[in-house]
């Protein structure tokens, strides 16, 4: 039932505008893959190309080794959950779920059985005779998922399915989709611009930007070893702090003013370093004069479990540092900042990450 999907050298343009450029990607069976990227990066287009809703100009798409790109969407054996749910408004929930199976001439008892099973699993049994207009957003979302589940597809495609839900429901549905994947072990492709969804759901994340794949890898690898400056800045909240590199001596990297960090960068590559990135959890707030640099607290964000201190350095740059929730710091305080250079990332002028020596 589940399938591996191969995308080979696929390109797509709308007139002169290229939306996907020579993209290749292989998704093994059972895997949960998330396409992550800002809007307009081509991630939805890629998903719709797999679904067959968009044609491809070049390359090929294979499901279980069989070429599907010339096939219409209905013949590919996939199911998709849309951002707007796309339920048929004049049909009941039951009819919505049965529609695809009826088109495949599935025997009625089988349809009834699958709908009953899916409805039980998604806890929508009591809604089967209602129409979509009588359901809440979360219920519609479940019906849309149910409509996909009953088809027992080769793969599930999710196109930003959580973005129309409120925060609490989004978190809950996220967990349910993860449970669904564990139960069905089906190949799932999930498109989102929300890095938290990507981090929590994915077995592998495909970070996309500007029509290209920036990095493919498990969530923690994406977080800990970003391959490009784009990935480093897009993944992680708050955003990584970035500095311009002024020079290097061995693995010692000089930044603005007196600030200088000892990093894990290979001295051979250090000369190419153009930017240094460091996450807020690698920056400590210290007493004035006790850290690597001094600054003034501009903003203090209290998140409940921790606080984020936005510290303005004399050069004008703002650095975000992690602080404990019970911090006594106040806006306007002069503080020092301690940087853990071993956790810094270095990028060359093109934004590609420089290789780091493994941590001691």
């Amino acid at each position: 039932m589940t399938a591996e999907i191969d995308i080979r050298n696929v390109s797509k343009s709308y007139g002169p505008l290229k939306v996907i450029e020579n993209l290749s990607l292989s998704i093994p069976a059972h895997e949960f893959v998330v396409f992550l990227g800002p809007s307009g990066c081509g991630k939805s287009t890629l998903l719709r190309m797999i679904a067959g809703l968009e044609g491809i100009d070049d390359g090929e798409i294979l499901i279980n080794g069989e070429r599907v790109d010339p096939l219409p969407p209905g013949k590919r054996g996939l199911a998709m959950v849309f951002q707007s749910y796309a339920l048929y408004p004049h049909m009941t929930v039951r009819q919505n779920m049965a529609f695809g199976l009826e088109n495949l001439a599935t025997p009625a008892p089988v349809i009834a059985e699958r709908i009953a099973a899916a409805a039980r699993m998604l806890e929508i049994d009591h809604l089967l005779d209602r129409k979509p207009g009588q359901l809440s957003g979360g219920q519609r979302q479940r019906v849309a998922i149910g409509r996909a589940v009953v088809k027992e597809p080769k793969a599930f495609l999710f196109d930003e399915p959580l973005s129309n839900l409120d925060a609490a429901l989004r978190a809950r549905t996220r967990i349910e989709i993860a449970q669904l994947h564990q139960r069905l072990r089906a190949t799932m492709i999930f498109v989102t611009h929300d890095q938290i969804e990507a981090m929590t759901l994915a077995e592998r994340i495909v970070v996309m930007n500007n029509r290209r794949i920036e990095q493919i890898g498990p969530p923690m690898e994406i977080y800990d070893q970003p391959a490009t400056r784009f990935v480093a800045s897009f993944v992680g909240t708050p955003q990584m702090n970035f500095f311009d590199v002024r020079g290097a001596t061995g693995s010692q990297i000089r930044l603005d003013g007196t600030l200088s960090l000892s990093t894990r960068v290979d001295p051979i590559d250090a000369g190419r370093a153009a930017a240094l990135g460091i996450r807020c959890e690698a920056v400590r707030v210290t007493g004035e004069g006790q850290g690597d640099a001094d600054g003034v607290i501009d903003v203090l964000e209290r998140l409940g479990d921790r606080a984020l201190a936005h510290v303005r350095l004399p050069g004008g740059q703002t650095v975000i540092a992690n602080e404990i929730a019970q911090t006594k710091l106040r806006v306007g305080d002069r503080v020092g900042l301690g940087f853990d250079g071993a956790k810094a990332h270095l990028f060359d002028a093109a934004g590609v990450a420089l290789p780091l020596r493994s941590a001691p």
Binding site: F82, A86, Y88, P89, H90, F99
Partner: protein, 304 residues
């Protein structure tokens, strides 16, 4: 702060921006004036007239249902009612189905579709005089367009406008050509309201084109279909211009519509009372037909 008590300030409630305000009525007043003087008042005056033996200059004596009794004993009036129903039956379903078909065919952004949409709608802007003039040219025996087409196939064109069996059909064809623009545009507007992702979901659900039309498109524009049929019922019951200009109600009164009869009674025979009574009959017929159509379509929609 001073010790003296400040003069009491009248507290004004802050009105909601949407609160009713008599000044708003000023905006409605111009319309209301014409609505009452040109529609509501004549409606009741017509009812009042229909109970009197009135001519064009004087309101005669009250005669109760006398005008109505005379009407229902008037074979020509009864024939005109039959003719009108026949005409409505010929035109309304055709207009609705043909309009839907055209809308489905032309619901795309291609240049050809855009041009054709404009072309099909363009007949609607013509006046009835022009329309009937064009179609008389089409129907003229021996020299008309139809005649030329029939000749291509080696046959003789029947005389549409003078054959009692064909005259009403000719008028119906003319009317459909004239009126097809509005149903088409209403259906096009409805089709464009259907969200594209529903069609994408249907495509992933392996729905054939026919199944998509029957199960997705048609149910989505059901309300518009009802609207089109009701509008057309109301309009086509009032057939007058085409019949008057093309056949004068002939041959043998076979194209005499109710409005033609009313015109004859009130403005050629000066029997205003009876004309008013015939108008009331037409009013009730239109109301009934539209109501029945509305109620049946609504209950059918609820069941599905």
């Amino acid at each position: 702060m001073t010790a003296r008590s400040a003069p009491s300030i009248k507290r004004r409630r802050t009105a909601s921006a949407n609160a009713p305000d008599w000044r708003n009525a000023l905006f409605v007043a111009p319309y209301l004036f014409f609505f009452v003087t040109l529609l509501v008042f004549p409606l009741f005056w017509g009812i009042w007239l229909s109970f009197h033996k009135a001519d064009i200059f004087t309101n005669g004596p009250f005669i109760g249902l006398g005008n109505y009794l005379r009407l229902f004993n008037d074979a020509v009036f009864l024939q005109s009612v039959g003719n009108t129903f026949y005409f409505v039956l010929l035109t309304v379903p055709t207009l609705a189905l043909l309009g839907l078909f055209l809308a489905l065919s032309l619901n795309s952004n291609s240049r050809l579709a855009t041009i054709l949409r404009g072309l099909f709608f363009s007949s609607s802007v013509l006046s009835v005089t022009i329309v009937t003039l064009i179609w008389r040219f089409v129907f003229i025996p021996q020299y008309g367009l139809l005649s030329a087409i029939y000749k291509l196939f080696g046959s003789e064109v029947p005389s549409f406008l003078t054959d009692p069996n064909l005259a009403m059909i000719a008028i119906a064809i003319t009317t459909i050509w004239w009126c097809i623009g509005l149903p088409m545009m209403l259906f096009l507007a409805a089709l464009q309201q259907i969200p594209a992702d529903i069609y994408e979901a249907a495509a992933l659900d392996n729905a054939s084109r026919w199944r998509t039309l029957i199960s997705i498109t048609l149910p989505s524009i059901r309300r518009t279909f009802v609207l089109v049929v009701i509008i057309q019922i109301v309009m086509q019951f009032q057939l007058f211009g085409q019949a008057w200009l093309m056949t004068r109600g002939g041959p043998n009164n076979t194209t005499r519509a109710i409005v033609l009869h009313i015109y004859d009674l009130a403005f050629r025979r000066w029997d205003v009372g009876m004309g008013a009574a015939a108008s009331e009959v037409l009013f009730v017929l239109i109301l009934a037909a539209a109501t029945i159509q509305f109620l049946t379509s609504r209950s059918a929609g609820d069941r599905s």
